[in-house]
């Protein structure tokens, strides 16, 4: 027996909700598509806010706390907006052995942010990754999607500065 439930309308007329709807529809609005749906929200909006989680919960017929529990369980989901630029530093074993810690220290010394934090001016977010699978290039970082291999601390900091200053 299936009960036809009318799906809630998107929270706003932002086009990006369409992408989220597509994911949910493709998965038949089943509750088990929650993670896929949260991925598509994050891809579209950059992060998960209360409005989005509420919409997803209602659409998939899930309790709010369940959605919140799943969203906070997985490290790839973020509930806060990211900075303009993101630097992912790999902290896998090979990178760690070859000095990923020093890279993070250097970033902290220069920009005052640690893993998972965003600078107050919203310019830079720093993230850690549990192995990017590029151990041959250790220590590695990814700055705005571009790979940086065999990094030295001062080299990485300089590169980040360049990216930020390019905007101004």
């Amino acid at each position: 027996m299936t009960i036809k439930v009318t799906k809630p309308a998107p929270p706003s007329d932002d086009k990006r909700w369409k992408l989220v709807d597509v994911t949910m529809r493709r998965n038949g609005y089943y509750g088990h598509a929650l993670i896929e749906t949260l991925h598509s929200v994050q891809d579209a909006f950059g992060y998960l806010d209360d409005v989005a989680m509420q919409y997803v919960a209602q659409s998939l017929g899930l309790p709010l706390s369940r959605v919140y529990g799943v969203a906070t369980f997985y490290h790839l989901f973020t509930l806060k907006p990211m900075g303009k630029h993101t630097c992912v530093v790999c902290t896998g074993t090979a990178c760690y052995i070859k000095g990923a810690g020093q890279l993070l220290d250097a970033i902290y010394d220069r920009f005052g942010v640690r893993v998972g934090e965003t600078t107050p001016d919203k310019q830079l977010s720093v993230m850690g990754a549990r192995c990017l699978g590029a151990c041959g290039l250790a220590p590695a970082a990814v700055l705005d999607g571009a790979w940086l291999a065999n990094q030295r601390p001062e080299q990485l900091v300089k590169r980040i500065e360049e990216v930020i200053n390019d905007e101004h």
Binding site: M53, P63, L64, S65, Y68, G69, T72, F73, H75
Partner: protein, 243 residues
């Protein structure tokens, strides 16, 4: 006239718990069979009438032929099983697990509203835990007093998830869930809003009654005044068919 018997759906098996010969239905767990036979196995997350969670690990037992320990609450009995529930090794492990729980959050028994009516506290006593060697974490946790009738004190939560399960399985509201991961886990209502603002909470108070510690209590209680009443559980869980 005698109607020939239909073959039974579940069989009865014989097993040994602490060298006692016992019989049990094969769909029963070690913990259930032990308790029927007055063999006490400590447990915290288990509560009759709620689904099995298997997370506190206090009910681990040794089984002959297995190098791994098994949680008694989640393991069904089998024919010929030989189980030990109270060896020196198990008593030691249980004490350390309790130590970890006391070290994790801030269980200051003397000023707790559940002092004297707390499952964690009484387990510490019955397991012989008289001091905690593991360094206390001393992290600050908040108290949520926003609900008209009840109060949530994260300092005393042991994440047994009884509240989550009773709310989902018996009340059907699913107001509670667990957020975060690892040491950062905590229980939340809805989207981590104050409990008093929860739209899904029916105010039934079942979560408060099943909470083993002083994490969920009634408003207006002070040290040692909180008593929990769980008589509703077996009846309601039968109605809902939870196993």
């Amino acid at each position: 006239m005698i109607v020939p018997a239909t073959p039974p759906k579940v069989r009865v098996v014989t097993l040994k718990i602490d060298d006692k010969d016992l019989s049990a239905r094969e769909d029963e767990t070690i913990l259930e069979v032990a308790r029927q036979n007055r063999i006490a196995i400590p447990s915290l997350c288990f509560l009759e009438g709620l689904s099995i969670w298997g997370a506190c690990r206090l009910c681990v037992v040794e089984m002959k032929g297995s190098s791994r320990l098994l949680s008694a609450c989640s393991t069904r009995v089998t024919e010929g099983m030989e189980v030990q529930t109270n060896t020196e090794r198990l008593r030691h492990y249980r004490r350390v697990i309790l130590e970890l729980l006391f070290a994790e959050r801030n269980h200051v028994c003397s000023v707790c509203v559940s002092n004297g009516n707390c499952e964690l506290q009484s387990l510490a006593q019955s397991c012989g835990l008289d001091h905690v060697r593991v360094p206390y974490r001393t992290s600050v946790y908040e108290v949520d007093p926003t609900h008209d009738l009840f109060r949530l004190d994260h300092n005393r939560c042991i994440l047994c998830t009884r509240c989550v399960r009773v709310c989902d399985e018996i009340e059907g509201a699913h107001t509670w869930d667990v957020m975060g991961r690892g040491i950062g886990c905590r229980v939340v209502t809805d989207l981590k809003r104050p409990w008093g603002e929860s739209a899904s909470c029916t105010g039934c108070g079942k979560c408060v009654q099943v909470c083993p510690t002083g994490a969920l209590v009634s408003q207006g209680t002070s040290a040692g005044e909180m008593r929990k009443d769980r008589r509703f559980l077996p009846y309601l869980s039968q109605m809902r068919g939870v196993r």
